[in-house]
Amino acid sequence: MRMFLLSLLACAAAQAVLLVPLSVGGVRPDCFLLLVLFLSPRLSPEVATLQGFGVGLCQDALSGGPLGLKAFTYSLLGFLTARLSHKLNTDKPLAQFWLLLVGAAGAGVVTFVLSCFFVGLSPLVSVLWLIVPEALYTAMLGFLLLRVSWVRAVITQST
């Protein structure tokens, strides 16, 4: 639990400060999303759902969007990732990248659908400016992080 909270705080700092210089066209990789995608396969679906809710709530509080937007998305993502973990567990790098990309794009689509109720974004603009670039950038960062041994150690300790 302590490691999870520390990881969450580290994600908050990374997202708000450290990753800002790395943004391309205003788009940064989503650390909170990576936290959910990394931890959920190692948890039971119930715990993964609650963990996704907590991570999403924290990200919502640090963003200008409606509180609950990311909490909803990550609860669903956490549940599905944990539920399908036996099928998603792979050591093949290419498969890991594709799974991260699909997870990030799926989260983007859910966020977009929910945002439509509250913000009214254009679908084309959202896909081109946000969902695709964010998913690609997040998957690339996630793929690189999975190659770092101490990141894998932190993931194991957090669960």
């Binding site: 708000a16 205003g26 990200q59 640090l62 200008g64 969007g65 909490a71 909803f72 669903l76 509250f118």
Partner: protein, 289 residues
């Protein structure tokens, strides 16, 4: 009752997922209904807990980048040139520091000049963090309610409007930028005095909506705040028209604006103090019998 517990135990995964999703959806719905007490409390509590970490990270990044710069400067030097290169490094750092100070002074002079020419009171604040998602445009500043900040206070830069304060904790506050997709401000085309609503336009600056079809709007027109809406004072520069869009069958025309203030590279901002915010007006109204 025991059957209910047994059923809950049997389907606990589904129950937990449903309850969690419903809670998240309820939180979102509460904001739409402007029933914000629970939501604001939750947001501010989390922000209060996390903002010191973000401030610390901002300070650490500043320090580390300086250390990294030193490392890069000194790496690969030959033994016999160490002394000279150290001196050069020190001088270089001094120059960098002085240049940085000069730039900061220039920015602060701009802010000061604005403060002196205006009758309003301003409070300067530093930007310490950016929005945690790519979907919305907010910044975190290092001043909060202890410095007198309240929700809905306008935030400006020397070039123009930045946004408004949306959340306040004792030591920090969140500012919604005018480029945020859910932001809106009353805008006025300075040349023709036509009014419209200026809102964020995801990935492409600002948009002035609800301009009458026959209104005279051309590329290059300056747009300022109209003062309508009770949040932003009149006359703060918003941007310049870079395109006018008239769609067939539409009741209104729209104009795309390039923001006056460079919102991607904000380091210091000014909060307009001493203005009666919409929250004050609502509170005052509620007090009256």
């Amino acid at each position: 009752m025991s059957i209910l517990w047994r059923l809950l135990g049997k389907y606990r995964r589904g129950v937990i997922l449903a309850v969690t999703l419903m809670t998240a959806f309820l939180l979102m719905s509460l904001q739409v209904r402007h029933d914000r007490a629970v939501v604001m409390f939750t947001r501010e509590a989390i922000l209060f807990a996390v903002s010191p970490v973000i401030k610390m990270a901002a300070m650490t990044v500043g320090g580390l980048s300086s250390v990294w710069q030193d490392y890069v400067d000194l790496r690969g030097l030959r033994e016999e040139n160490i002394r000279l290169q150290r001196e050069a490094g020190i001088l270089q750092r001094r120059i960098s520091q002085l240049e940085e100070q000069a730039l900061e002074t220039q920015r602060l002079q701009g802010l000061l000049a604005m403060q002196e020419t205006s009758q309003r009171n301003y409070l300067a604040a530093r930007v310490v963090g950016k929005d945690a998602t790519n979907w919305f445009k907010t910044i975190l500043i290092d001043r909060g309610s202890q410095a007198g900040l309240r929700r809905n206070q306008p935030v400006v830069a020397p070039d123009g409007l930045v946004g408004r304060v949306v959340e306040v904790t004792p030591t920090s506050a969140k500012v919604q930028l005018i480029t945020d997709p859910v932001s809106a401000a009353g805008g006025l085309i300075q040349r023709t005095r036509v009014t419209g609503i200026v809102s964020g336009n995801l990935g492409a600056g600002l948009k002035v909506r609800y301009l009458p079809l026959l209104a005279d709007v051309v590329v290059g027109d300056e747009v300022v705040t109209s003062g309508m809406g009770g949040v932003f004072p009149k006359g703060i520069p918003l941007g310049r028209v870079i395109a006018v869009e008239r769609r067939g069958g539409a009741l209104f025309q729209e104009a795309v604006l390039a923001p006056k203030a460079d919102l991607a590279r904000l380091e210091e901002v000014l909060i307009v103090m001493g203005t009666e915010t919409r929250d004050d007006i609502e509170t005052e109204g509620a007090r009256q019998p």
